[in-house]
Symmetry: C2
Subunit: 240 residues, 2 copies
Amino acid sequence: MPSDAHLRIGELAELAGTTTRAVRHYHAIGLLAEPARDESGYRRYGAEHLVRLVRIRRLRALDMPLERIAAHLAGTPGDLDASLRSLADDLGRQIEELQALRARVLALAASNALAAPAERWREALGVPALPAGEQEAVALLDALHPQGVEGLLAQSSALLAGPGLPGRVGPLLERFREVPDDEAAVEELAAGLAALLPRPERAAPPVDLETMEKLLGDRFTPPQRRVLRRLRELLAERER
Amino acid sequence: MPSDAHLRIGELAELAGTTTRAVRHYHAIGLLAEPARDESGYRRYGAEHLVRLVRIRRLRALDMPLERIAAHLAGTPGDLDASLRSLADDLGRQIEELQALRARVLALAASNALAAPAERWREALGVPALPAGEQEAVALLDALHPQGVEGLLAQSSALLAGPGLPGRVGPLLERFREVPDDEAAVEELAAGLAALLPRPERAAPPVDLETMEKLLGDRFTPPQRRVLRRLRELLAERER
DNA sequence: TTGCTCCTCACGTCACGTGAGGTGGC
DNA sequence: TTGCTCCTCACGTCACGTGAGGTGGC
């Protein structure tokens, strides 16, 4: 009866505060040596297995990945210190990331920024409720700007000379809704809208009109589409 | 050319700031509706897909699991608020766990508690360096106590009447090393060791002598084994 | 004889990344 | 004709949990 072959896998696991499945897993990846088997094919563990397994488990309790545990246990006591410190650094970084994330979630919850974009658009600009077709358009605008409609409006407002967006968008929107089939009206409206979409040097345009038109083009009347096309031309010209 | 079937998967993914693989994954799990295909079998996406995908991505940026995103997007605006708050709570809990973990890692790094158990045993008790056989025994003692040798020594010390462990272990250890084949000596030594291992009501014994003997029994001389057996008897008697 | 422990596959987890092998589009 | 994008499998990730189906030990 060899002194080093006494424990069965269940006893070993319990002494180390883990499960038989974990022990077999450590065998499978070579982290813990396979012990000898008894006549029945059962694994029989000795003191050295228990000592090693408990070390593994203590490091796992620190959330150290198994691969690093393997390196850790293979290293010298000097490496050990370094590996603990780098583990603490990792944890510190993770904590900071989660804190930033939590702050964003709370800010979002407070700002209601995940609510219906059309609602937020209305609130920001102080315009009356939008018809269904325009709600879709605003939802798309929201999706197309990295910071949503708020980002779009903020970017435009920040670049705008004179009075801000809120008082100026309403009238233009009204005119856009009922723009007549008349070149002069189209041209004037396009110019008015272009004035609301300033573009600084090398900055991304606040609105991706191309995708907008591509995806929702057929929701507009022919003169409305001419306004949009003309608007794009004006913005493109301004680039040069 | 249907207005709602314009984007190919690559364009859609780029507009939403993600990958084609992620988009296909969302199709596979039913989070994003499969769009119609064109003549070549390519998926063609419209505005509603982009809007939905961007919403998914914005929630994923908060590390919300896809299953919760699905519930979130299916729910009413009221659910939405609740789901954001519970997400923030989850993150708060995760942060606390990681902070506790980090504190433990730093404490371990400072206390050197992962170094060789025999070293720590030596330091704690002020005894000279141990021979190899005893180092193994201490490593096993360390593995068998949830808090390692420090926990074992602290638990014993705390319960001990009179002067603490450090001055008392050394002489007993010396005597154990060379215990003669003599019943009186065995008995006296066992009694001395038993005095060092006090046991309060209903508390776990500080040392799992049974496993100790099972795993390392044959490292000891016959009289030493008699000491250990007698020690176990004394501790067991004390229980009643 | 009946539970209990053990054995070996092997799938599932979570959200995709990364080829593998093949085919339309410009 | 040559890249580029698309297509559908299907394996890999991380550390096991959880059966499935079968066999020794007390």
